[in-house]
Amino acid sequence: MTARIGVVTFPGSLDDRDTQRAIRLAGAEPVALWHKDKDLKQVDAVVLCGGFSYGDYLRAGAIARFSPVMEPLLEQARAGLPVLGICNGFQILTEAHLLPGTMLRNNHLHFICRDQKLRVENAETAWTSDYTAGQEIHIPLKNIDGQYVADQRTLDTLESEGRVAFRYLDVNPNGSNNDIAGVTNEAGNVVGLMPHPEHAVEPLIGTGRTDGLPFFTSILKKLVNA
């Protein structure tokens, strides 16, 4: 038995196929979900992938969060369903208030596409258990709305509760508060980050390393051992 991991496609999603491929490489079974689906096809976890959704009109993720598929997703995520949001998926999760804070345009106003060094700060979430805390990894980053912001109280809470999951190393590429690249919810089942682990799962592409693969092996282990 293996785990079934759903990947939602919104109008404008770019990385749904890459994410499905990463899930398959890790040994799990990807399940395609459509933004108009009203149920999650009994998947064991869900990834909201990168790209754009509804043209990112209004704000990135602001319209996608009201998609039909988000209704069961929000309900089940609050009950413990593991959910990973990558880039636009992270933006959707913050707009849906599953994760705190939000993303602003990069402070320099340029689109960035680069290999980004990160430090894994929390290796105890559903999506990061195959890393070790403090591990340094290289993951591609590609966005224009990547500047993570939250009010000081929220930042203090995230820091004191160890809920900063990933931090940018060497350079802060977009002006994010506290160099935050990704965060987790309190329970550790919902994680969001701006860099793209699904683009770093094979030696031939991305950073030439497979530093993103542990996201998908972490969740597989958690689900299969559950």
């Binding site: 209004l58 009201f66 602003l104 345009r105 990069n106 939250a150």
Partner: protein, 87 residues
């Protein structure tokens, strides 16, 4: 029919790089004496029926939950007098 205007602005403490880029362009265009620019969004809602307290309350909810992200943005709601269309 009445019009309700919702203005959405980044909170004062939030950096507005787009507004800064506009501000920096001003001297090059010969506009002096403008020390700061903040960029926001304006929504014009054409409302069917009367704009009474209940309608405004619903629009307030709409602005709070959807038009603005209150993590980073403030908003105001106001009724705008619509001048008779010029025939």
């Amino acid at each position: 029919m009445a019009r309700v205007v919702v203005d959405v602005m980044l909170k004062p403490e939030i950096l507005d790089p787009q507004g800064q880029a506009v501000q920096r362009a001003l001297p090059r265009l010969g506009f002096d004496g403008i020390s700061d620019v903040r960029q926001g969004k304006r929504f014009e809602l054409e409302v069917d029926g009367p704009v009474d307290e209940a309608a405004l309350a619903r629009i307030h909810d709409l602005a709070e939950s959807f038009l603005a992200n209150t993590v980073i943005e403030d908003f105001t709601v106001r009724v705008e007098e619509v001048a008779e269309a010029v025939k």
